[in-house]
């Protein structure tokens, strides 16, 4: 039986996987942004849950999370946003990107019930590495939820076990460090990606620090997709005044969509 992730995944040569923070700058706008991303060609949406102590995130996403937390955004109401997105026409798979603690506090049963009620397809927990996620991975499987795994350049002899167990797509962290825009991509990324592809049964996507089309051009021959987060969140931050004003909102959303399209143009060529 196919997972909802597989069912909803568009047939594309290369995956474009954008990340935005739920509730930044406002829950309603997150819905609009999701639609824009789908229109710009997104294959999967990573919906980030704002957290007080986001260990894996750089300053751009930290700031976005702070903004969202001021809007009283929680894991629960973030998941519920997905329902609204679906109603507005979002077809692509949605992955909930959350730190482990909010899931723990919500409770796994509540979590899976909400995920199913709201048509969420997958789960990514950046601070729940392979050794800590076995039980949750199993529950995901039982609940038809795709559990996304990460490998990092430091994973070395861990790559095999993580990649062979990967579902949905394998998230390859392109560089050491937290999320954020970077100017250059380290050379050894290529051998790392090859290693990941060797073991993975699912598409291999690269993330962390990808912010422009030049980078994508350089990487696309070595991977099956790219994850773009901070660059988008940064753009959203710049657009906040316009997004929050009913009069300029439509233009701002279009501006966002055009920006996204321009970055990812190499993917579609």
């Amino acid at each position: 039986m196919k997972t909802t992730f597989e069912q909803r995944l568009p047939k594309k040569n290369k995956l474009f996987i954008p990340f935005i923070v739920a509730g930044d700058p406002h829950p309603n706008i997150t819905v609009d942004l999701a639609i824009m991303l789908q229109e710009a060609g997104a294959s999967v949406l990573e919906l980030g849950i704002p957290y007080s102590d986001p260990l894996a995130d750089g300053p751009v996403i930290q700031k976005a999370a702070s903004r969202a937390l001021k809007n009283e955004v929680t894991l629960e109401n973030s998941i519920k946003l997905v329902s609204i997105m679906r109603k507005k026409g979002l077809k692509i798979p949605v992955i909930i990107f959350t730190y482990y603690n909010p899931v723990l506090q919500l409770g796994e049963d509540n979590f899976f019930a909400l995920v199913q009620q709201n048509e969420v397809d997958g789960l990514l927990i950046p601070d729940l590495p392979f050794e800590e996620n076995e039980s949750l991975r199993e529950k995901c499987q039982q609940n038809g939820v795709t559990f996304i795994s990460l490998v990092a350049p430091t994973s070395t002899n861990r790559i095999a076990k993580i990649a062979t167990n990967a579902q949905g797509f394998l998230y390859c962290v392109s560089a050491l460090g937290v999320t954020g825009v970077r100017n250059s991509i380290h050379d050894h990324i290529y051998s790392f990606l090859e290693e990941a592809k060797k073991y993975s049964n699912v598409p291999v996507a690269v993330g962390f620090g990808i912010s422009n089309s030049t980078q994508i051009e350089a990487l696309k021959g070595y991977c099956d997709g790219v994850v773009i987060g901070s660059a988008l969140v940064q753009k959203i931050e710049e657009l906040i005044p316009k997004l929050m004003d009913e009069e300029t909102k439509t233009t701002a959303l279009l501006n966002f969509k055009n920006y996204v399209s321009s970055i990812i143009s190499p993917i579609n060529n």
Partner: protein
Amino acid sequence: GRFGTFGGRFVPETLMQPLEELEQLLCATMKDGEFLQEYFNVLKEYSGRPTALTYASNLTKLLGGAKIYLKREDLNHTGAHKINNAIGQALLAKRMGKRKIIAETGAGQHGVAAATVAARFGMECTVFMGEEDISRQKLNVFRMKLLGAEVIPVSSGNKTLKDATNEAIRYWVQNCEDHFYMIGSVVGPHPYPKMVRDFQRIIGDEARDQFIEREGRLPTAIVACVGGGSNAIGMFFPFLEDDVQLIGVEAAGKGLDTDLHAATITMGTEGVIHGSLTLLLQDKNGQIIEPYSISAGLDYPGVGPEHAYLASNKRVMYKSVTDEEAIEALQLLSKVEGIIPAIESAHALAKAYEVAKQLSQEDSVLVCLSGRGDKDVHSLMSYIEGENQNEDNF
């Protein structure tokens, strides 16, 4: 990597390999006689160990109950137990060939300890410290710089210890190939809580020998303060199998009935913080709550996972003491024994006085005096002189 259900390694994948390497090295190293010899040598010849065991005779007489003994971690180089762990980790980093140290600090105590050992072992040291703490602790910032460390201001979150720790971990994720992250307490992902405990158990090992030499038996009770909990674990660990009552004391701040406390075990719930599953102060959505205590060393929203475990299996009793009770205890020790303890340690003292009074003169209470109060004199002055306004007789 667990203490019962607590502990673990809740960190980005990037850190898993470095943590595994550290764990393997640690495993081998803690059995390596040469390494241990060097560690003990540095403790002795650099930090001045063994620290004294002082019988608080006046206090004992005054309270009229059990004999009170103080394990004098305040006599360590840099003034607290923190250096034991910093020395251990620095030696380990040296073994790993890493010459760059990352550390987080709240009030600056661990930062100073890390900067100190980095200087001593010829390493570079980068200390993350919340902007709020930097402005409150200018002297410690200066001290770290004097020791050659770089102090990085952290402006995220509440700009205090929790955020400095987040930022240190992020920096570590980015630089884990050539940097060693020196955590200051028994917190963080496995093997940190175990490693820091193993480097702090010297407190309890020494105290146990000294106590037996002096009293010919074990103490009735042992009391230590708990923030992250490194001095407490260090003191308790060698007594876990003994018939000795162990009491950890958390900061009740302005009172457990207020929001202003740091009583993680007493009031917290299970969750993940800084890479470890433990008890912590959080809201129902799992967002971490900023704790409060007059003691900068105790206002941490989490607690070492081993303490969460020892609380769950009831081997250690965890109590709490308010700012006011701690300051009274500090004043009493200063006046009758001539020892000004750190405000952290004063929490343990306040509880120890209470326990001692309830015991008989045949009993004895051993207190971990984790640090000296010099660092607190300034804030004490504000607190006490603010309180007494026109009185001169504090």
